[in-house]
Symmetry: C2
């Protein structure tokens, strides 16, 4: 796992420096208190998995074409910035009192705890606008905006959050298929978009975009399956958020419908599917993407 | 005012049919309950001023170029749809209990009253994503997305809402300049974007975009000045929302800092500025845009 730790650390350093730069430019004329509250969650840590995936899928397509990967960071940057802004907005809104009502995120008070509820709503709204502004500066920008918007909206991430909330209503019948549907929208849609946007930035054709999507979707489902396990087995220090949350909220999770071992099996199945999507692809980027799968999976143990 | 009533009614009929069609396509695979809640505010009436302005500014630029205006609806449609989705999301979030806490909008229960607070947050979030998805289907899409995102975000509409909320905090010092700044961001930024996006859709050059922006900005400031008057003088039936709201929330409004007559003077000044921006422009579209100014202004009496 040493390689993958380096891979993630390198992408983190890159995207954090670029987020800092992009925020300074985009928030220069914003009201100072709001600007500060927007920076707080976006620069407050996080794995930066989505930007790292976008960058690596960009490299994957460049390698396939025999092009040098030296331009990958430049090409993938708008998508990487936008993905992180969009993901962060979703965390800010998910933590709101009327949603998951969480006090702790990435080891710090959530935005509404630190700045108040109204500001937290506005911070999420501003971050979503920033996401599209940033993505619209990249290659094949119009198509990239459409991919991100579909993944983010009512038939993607927001739809998944709506289903997730509904799953905790009294009398909701939640089975394995329902949980998979929630995970597909709530988590996998944006990770799939991260991979597709990276490929798109490298000029991918439809076949290559399909590979990136299939890999991202399976990895996203694996990631959420592992997350469900960690909600039961993890502690606040490791997670940086409140463990046992799903149970408290009586959410339909994989662990609830399939048990801890069932959830681990689901994670392993999705991991195999992600690896399968990369069959026949070699080179450094494909190797990294395979190691990401192993990295995500081992967290479930 | 007969002409302007026709102008608005015609744009309304157009955009409402198109919203219906676009929603059916974009929400086809969304969770049904969320889809219903997204439709509720977007198809629940409203003046549809922003789509009408985008369409007419598109015609303005086509007329100037000597091109037939028959394609204006086709060209301006993506921007018009996106503007209305974006405006509607802002209303849904502004009405939330942690924001303005309003029960009534366009004569009906607000989204959080009808569907609950969590769903209202998600509906706003989904509508913002839809806005960018739709705009990204239009001409000069990447530039259009950037214009909309800047107008919508922390240095535009969301920034204005943040300043507006801050103006009601105890001890906030609010003067005329502060109120103008709030109005410039909260209301004028998106109306300015509506005019610019319409011009852009027609292939406008920088000089024409500047005219559209100047007109839209002044009209937006006039519109909000009139709105501040109506909050004091209107009744719920006319407004379709709760009157006296700003006073209850102790917001810094034009009426609070300049009195009712001062607010009317401000509205008239901005109206003159909007008309000034159109100096030297003639043709049917310019005439309509002038009549819009008179239409907005007379509501203050």
């Amino acid at each position: 796992m040493a390689d993958i730790a380096n891979w993630l650390a390198s992408a983190q350093a890159w995207i954090e420096a670029e987020l800092e730069r992009a925020l300074s430019r985009s928030l220069a004329t914003a009201p100072p208190r709001l600007a500060e509250a927007v920076r707080y969650p976006l620069l407050g840590g996080g794995k930066r998995l989505r930007p790292a995936l976008a960058l690596t899928c960009c490299e994957l397509v460049l390698e396939k074409a025999g092009s040098p990967t030296t331009r990958a960071r430049e090409l993938a940057l708008p998508a990487a910035l936008g993905l992180e802004a969009l993901h962060t907005y979703s965390l800010v809104h998910d933590d709101l009192p009327c949603m998951d009502d969480d006090d702790l995120r990435r080891g710090r008070p959530t935005v509404h705890k630190a700045y108040g509820e109204a500001t937290a709503v506005l911070v999420g709204d501003a971050l979503q606008a920033l996401a599209f502004e940033w993505v619209a500066h990249g290659p094949r920008a119009a198509e990239a905006v459409r991919v991100l918007a579909r993944a983010a909206g009512a038939r993607g991430m927001v739809g998944g959050q709506a289903l997730d909330l509904a799953s905790s209503e009294p009398g909701a019948a939640v089975d394995l298929a329902a949980v998979r549907a929630i995970h597909g929208l709530k988590t996998a849609a944006l990770i799939e978009a991260a991979c597709e946007l990276g490929a798109l930035a490298a000029g991918a054709r439809e076949r290559e975009r399909r590979v990136a999507r299939a890999y991202g979707r399976a990895l996203g489902l694996c990631f959420q399956a592992v997350d469900d396990c960690l909600d039961v087995t993890g502690d606040a220090a490791t997670l940086g958020k409140t463990p046992g949350k799903d149970q408290r909220l009586e959410r339909g999770t994989l662990v609830a419908v399939a048990g801890l071992e069932g959830a681990r099996v689901e994670a392993a199945l999705r991991a195999a599917e992600a690896l399968g999507a990369l069959e026949g692809w070699d080179g450094g980027a494909a190797r990294s993407l395979r190691e990401v799968v192993a990295f995500v999976l081992q967290r479930s143990r």
